[in-house]
Symmetry: C2
Subunit: 477 residues, 2 copies
């Protein structure tokens, strides 16, 4: 047995005491051997039974809320407020899918062709066991019992979670609740498998394991693209839904009143820095028209930011990456910056607002890549046509926001353009705060996600893990 | 300009007189340059307008039916009966989607959250320009105005067809009708682009063309996998829906009455040999339990086949491939054969029923691959458990058929097993004859198709070429 590994407490700026061991090859073999039979079992259950399992999972989680909270706070450094938000969202996602399964979910469609004594039934069936690789920044809502796991179980798929090593204690506590729920339902344990690995080896082995039929991933573009390539290289390629990085461009119309500029600047300042800006939907680039050197919106944004204190990032590695990327961006000629004046302690992320011109933004690919953390880039443009050309050339994004007073033809033009670039458009709102509702689309053109046709959030995310099979019966009278 | 190329007349066993030229680089550049603006235009049209375009396409096709029929018969060697079937199916597919767009298609879903002054609308939008690479064996229904083109236009996508070189005359005649319809609607010509290439170069260039956002393909596993790999290797990977090969296993229950054995044997004999067995859904392997040497079903299948005369295959190359694959299979030790006794003329395909044991089938991968043409393999098994194990190990298939008298637990077991292996299960029916209806699923696990979650036929096939975008509006009162 190896020496094991520990998680990090960002508040204490020290390692947590618990030591975790990687899953061994024997454990892997044993756990994976249980899945085929469990998948057959779960595939036979009605949507109502799957909803019942989800509800029992929610109940088991609720009983262990304090335990989970303890690990969550110690492993993420996030606030109690944030824990409550993420907790409620996790429980809400479970009930959202339980409701979907028991109300508007259509498991079978039937057509009859009496003149030919023929009936065709189209069944929604699980795609098979799903590997879930959760995110660093959402220890609950995008991890062990997060949207991928819940939508996969709702679809009738067994789930194999590889715990995120940065919050493996939280992951184990959550996994134990899911396992307890499965036991309470008297369902086979192979429905949910929890595996641990500090590195990448286990995830890579799982990606090429013939028993895995789909992958849900939340993380970086580099990580997501690597998974896509491995999944495609299999002798039987499988679908990967990877929710990856995004700049989340924000467009500021020139018609805003001073009051609106102040209001939106304050909202954006919070959206950039909340929880150290560690959101895939954090506004990363803000396009502002150069009107005069003392642009009121920009000044208000700086004013709002200047009141914000730094908070710890999730992990020393994330903090290091943030500082390095920030340095990289700020070293580009022509890029100016406005930063938090309060000295950071430990792994606190010092927020930063960088400023550049549209021309420099367009000619530096590094500026067009996400800086994960409390960072945004103000890009000054003079000409809307030039801005639109740059927007057209951007890679796919999760979101795009537009702030304006009057919904004029400029807003229509930007909306139409953004429809080709992003998965969600926010009119007069910040991109952070993804709602778990039927109309939510959380995804976008590559590289925001691996497949523009699917969402990671909301009931339609079940479509990632379902397939149809038609059963055609002759001589039905 | 090159010397050009010609198509082949299988009935005359000679090349057709018309000479076709490959699309030049200049033509390619010009035609592709029209697509961006046309895509913006089509994306703005309502579902009703898209339905109107489809209906005008159907009307324009109908006016040129005799012209198209002339090319079709001369380039495929298929019968007039088959032409009528495929013609009706093509026209029906167009009206199926026009009806879908004007009845149950939901372009927008809206949710309001009044307490937060928030509205979210989820819009179904076109994925962007779609490349369609049609099939050799369906010059109409899976080609220029086939299911891929029609579902893509229904989704609001511009279509770029690379004509199949084996029936390029048919393709041009059909393309001209689509172009005429676009002109009649006063829509931009970039909505439909028709390109010609005798080889693979143009298709490869299109696959990596940044303006192409999705690919629809019908053809071989090798061709489909090559496209998947190219699409995945792009800096912005795009989805490929490839409908590829299949064995279409048939399971014969032992409980059949003699009358049923005769009836099903006759149906299967036609399904194997109709139009020289050149269907992706042709039954390619039939599992029969060894009861005694004079199995009545097998005898009846041979009796039914022996009455069937050979017909021309689609092309000398397809005929050569068929003869080579057949030879390869028949050279495997232990494989016996029963073949058409009538001497074949020209490129007629001599039907063949090969016979082997379950053990030999399981241990020879060549026997588990499709033989495209009038060929089927009878596999004799002794033990249902051994058969099921072999079925479990098969790659993904488009269809699986089961013939039986009583729906007993054996049928349930096979149905459940086939649900993991095929896209469509046919109870007491042959797999050929795919209906264009809402409940149809034409696809299956890899390698039957590239993505088990999508169908190539029926209104749900529109999902291949659509994406969602959510538009979230704050301060809506």
């Amino acid at each position: 047995m190896s020496a094991g590994f520990r998680t990090f407490n960002p508040i204490k700026n020290d390692w947590n005491p618990e030591v975790y061991q990687n899953t061994t090859q024997d454990e892997y073999n044993h756990k994976l051997s249980l899945i085929a039979e469990a998948q057959r079992f779960l595939g036979r259950q009605t949507p109502e039974k799957r909803a019942a399992l989800l509800q029992v999972i929610a109940a088991c989680l609720s009983q262990k809320k304090e335990l989970i909270k303890g690990f969550y706070l110690a492993e993420s450094g996030l606030s109690e407020t944030r824990f409550e938000m993420e907790w409620n969202r996790t429980i809400h996602t479970i009930s959202h899918f339980a409701t979907h399964l028991t109300t508007d979910f259509q498991a079978v469609k039937t057509e009859c062709f009496p003149s030919e004594s023929l009936q065709i039934q189209k069944h929604k069936l699980p795609i098979g066991p799903v590997l879930v690789l959760g995110s660093s920044n959402f220890p609950l809502a995008y991890s062990t019992a997060g949207g991928d796991t819940v939508s996969a179980i709702a679809a009738g798929c067994c789930v194999i979670v590889k715990a995120h090593p940065m919050h493996v204690g939280t992951s184990i506590a959550v996994a134990n609740c899911i396992i307890e729920a499965i036991k309470k339902m008297n369902f086979p344990l192979g429905i949910f498998t929890h595996l641990i690995d500090e590195g990448y080896q286990l995830a890579q082995a799982l990606c090429i394991d013939d028993r895995i039929k789909a992958i849900g991933f939340t993380g970086s573009i580099k990580g997501g693209k690597a998974l896509m390539d491995i999944a495609q290289s299999r002798s039987n390629p499988i679908p990967v839904f990877a929710e990856m990085g995004s700049l989340n461009p924000v467009l500021i119309h020139t018609d805003l009143s001073k009051e609106m500029e102040t209001e939106f600047a304050q909202k954006l300042a919070l959206s950039i820095t909340n929880d150290a800006g560690q959101f895939c939907t954090k506004p990363g680039v803000i396009f502002v028209r150069t009107l005069n050197s003392g642009n009121h919106f920009v000044q208000e944004l700086k004013n709002a930011l200047s009141l914000i204190k730094p908070v710890p990032m999730l992990h020393p590695q994330i903090h290091r990456n943030f500082e390095e990327r920030k340095k990289e961006v700020l070293s580009i000629p022509g890029v100016q910056s406005f930063s938090c004046a309060i000295a950071a302690k430990g792994i606190e992320g010092t927020w930063c607002l960088a400023e550049t011109t549209l021309q420099d933004f367009a000619s530096n690919s590094s500026l067009q890549e996400e800086v994960f953390g409390p960072f945004a880039l103000l890009v000054y443009y003079q000409d809307v046509a030039a801005l639109n050309q740059v927007l057209e050339s951007l890679p796919g994004q999760l979101t795009g926001s537009v702030f304006f007073r009057e919904h004029d033809s400029q807003i229509d033009e930007w909306t139409e353009l953004l429809c080709t670039k992003v998965g969600r458009i926010i009119l007069n709102g910040v991109p952070t705060g993804v709602r778990v509702v039927e109309t939510m689309h959380h995804g976008g053109p590559f590289p925001a996600s691996s497949d523009v046709r699917f969402t990671a959030v909301g009931q339609d995310s079940i479509n990632r893990f379902q397939k149809d099979v038609s059963i055609q019966s002759q001589n039905i009278t």
